[in-house]
Amino acid sequence: MQTFPIQKIIEHGPGVKSFYFPKTFDVRAGQFVNLWLPGVDEKPFSVSAVMGDWIEISVKRYGPFTTALMECREGDYLGLRGPFGRGFTLQNNALLIGGGIGIAPLRLLAQELNVRGLRFVSLLGAATAYEIIFARDFQKQSVCYFTTDDGSMGKKGLVTDDLVDIIAKEKIEYIYAAGPEIMFVKTKELIDPLGLPYEFCMERYMKCGIGICGQCVLDDSGLRLCVEGPVLNRDDLKEVTELGLLHRDASGRRV
């Protein structure tokens, strides 16, 4: 385990922050790192941007770990190991669908697509305006559609509400999604009939991050989300019967 000091912190709004660490390895969009907060816990997070000598990790307060992370200050040492897993492939004419803090890995994806000159459109939704992190950066790089639960930014409603119309209007050929699992279920339902290929960046409770503990293995595929994922494509997902139905907690019980 290597530990690094937090270089900088940006607060997007209450309970949503981006943390900057020295970059000591290359990381691709969709891959994740394990953050260790000494005395608290260790949890997986996707990387939201790579900028020069820094990597950026964007976090929303959710449970005890992220609550403790929100209290961290610049200069505090955190453990950081990775990169783990398989990231997104890079495709042209893609739609990036982000829900809540799921927008984080899409920010790095947007960076990578942009560098390669690939066209993409962003469809980002969250509970409220400030949770659509780095909205302005997305707007600089792509046509953007926003939705919020409270109507404070973009259209009031769910990110999937106008999905099919946007796909047609923007001549979309490929879908990337990151966000809550219910969003994947809805997205899959809407795009499967269109025959579009897709990649979802998923989450499961993880322990080792290196493919041995079995904690994040998906029924019925046997795929290890930390190694064969966390980005799964349409073919991988054909074998995943637990999508939107269950996941396993720290003991391994279905919840």
Binding site: W36, D41, G214
Partner: protein, 309 residues
């Protein structure tokens, strides 16, 4: 995975295509995970150790790599016997390969109760984990350190398991693994699994100046412990006639051959998945087969224990 006739083991009359067994604690939580391991060439799988009630285990970091292996203190997290019985049954529907149910108890009596419940799922073997080094602060000294406790657990589990064979998993420490193996054999064990993780050990972060594992200490696995495991298997072989499932640090086929020469019938593979990926099972199978062809062996049992006088 195509069947390689040469490396079919002769272990308790079980039908297996390879002497490699997925070691307990690795990828053994669910049927779909274990079935995938079989597709990569393992001859059998061992479930994650379970007891009566579900356990969350220790907080993360619970598994961390270092230069020569892994340090882990998962803390026997498991979903409990009810869930695991379901997963074992499901595995049996998915795969014809044998499945070994790894069990533990907080008390001697719990071992017997879990064995009885586990037997309902008809695993091909019950492996009795008396040697987990990572729950000392909660359970006290492992039962596997005491010949009396181990004898009693072996007897009780054997009775509770009915016609299902029982292997006792021993650690490399305690009062001598040869003696402990003999105690198990005398009390009815059908096999010995040697060894559990070694240590416990500790790693400290020099910036934070604290142990990295949330449990502070953890069992050591991987290449670092291969020599300890080979020596332990060698010693067990000198002391008992029942077959040995040799586990500990096996990463390459040469390590597996060492285990066979030391006296193993089956070989456990676990941490190697971290180093070599899921392909490790196929690679070791091929390596053993190549070694046998090159050296004129026609069955695994011809190799067994050859390192002894």
């Amino acid at each position: 995975m195509k069947t390689i006739h040469l490396i079919k083991p002769d272990f308790l009359n079980l039908k297996m295509d390879s002497p490699l067994v997925l070691a307990s604690g690795i990828l053994g939580l669910t049927a779909s995970s274990m079935a995938r391991v079989i597709r990569f060439g393992a001859g059998a799988v061992t479930s994650k150790s379970f007891n009566l009630e579900w356990r969350k285990g220790h907080r993360n970091p619970s598994i961390i790599p270092f230069e020569h292996g892994l340090l882990n203190a998962v803390g026997l997290s498991n979903p409990g016997v009810d869930e695991m019985v379901k997963e074992i049954r499901l595995f049996r529907q998915k795969s014809e390969a044998p499945i070994f149910a790894s069990i533990f108890g907080r008390t001697i009596e719990e071992f017997a109760e879990v064995a009885k419940r586990a037997a309902e799922a008809r695993p091909h073997l019950i492996e009795v984990n008396v040697s987990c080094p990572n729950v000392r602060s909660e359970f006290g000294t492992p039962f596997g350190d005491s010949p009396q406790d181990t004898a009693q657990i072996t007897r009780l589990v054997k009775k509770a398991a009915g016609d299902i064979p029982v292997s006792v998993k021993l650690g490399p420490h305690g009062p001598g693994i040869g003696l402990m193996a003999r105690v198990c054999e005398e009390n009815g064990a059908d096999a010995i699994t040697a060894i559990n993780t070694a240590g416990p050990g500790m790693l400290i972060d020099i910036r934070v100046r604290k142990p990295v594992l949330s449990n502070k200490t953890g069992g050591i696995s991987g290449p670092a412990i291969l020599p300890i495991a080979v020596k332990s298997v060698y010693e067990v072989y000198e002391n008992v006639r029942i077959p040995i499932i040799a586990t500990g640090g096996v990463t390459h086929w040469q390590d597996a051959v060492q285990m066979l020469l030391a006296g193993a019938t089956l070989i456990g593979v676990g941490t190697a998945v971290y180093y070599e990926g899921m392909e490790v099972f196929g690679k070791i199978n091929k390596g053993i087969e190549g070694y046998m062809r090159e050296n004129g062996f026609s069955a695994l049992k011809e190799l067994r224990g050859l390192a002894h006088e």
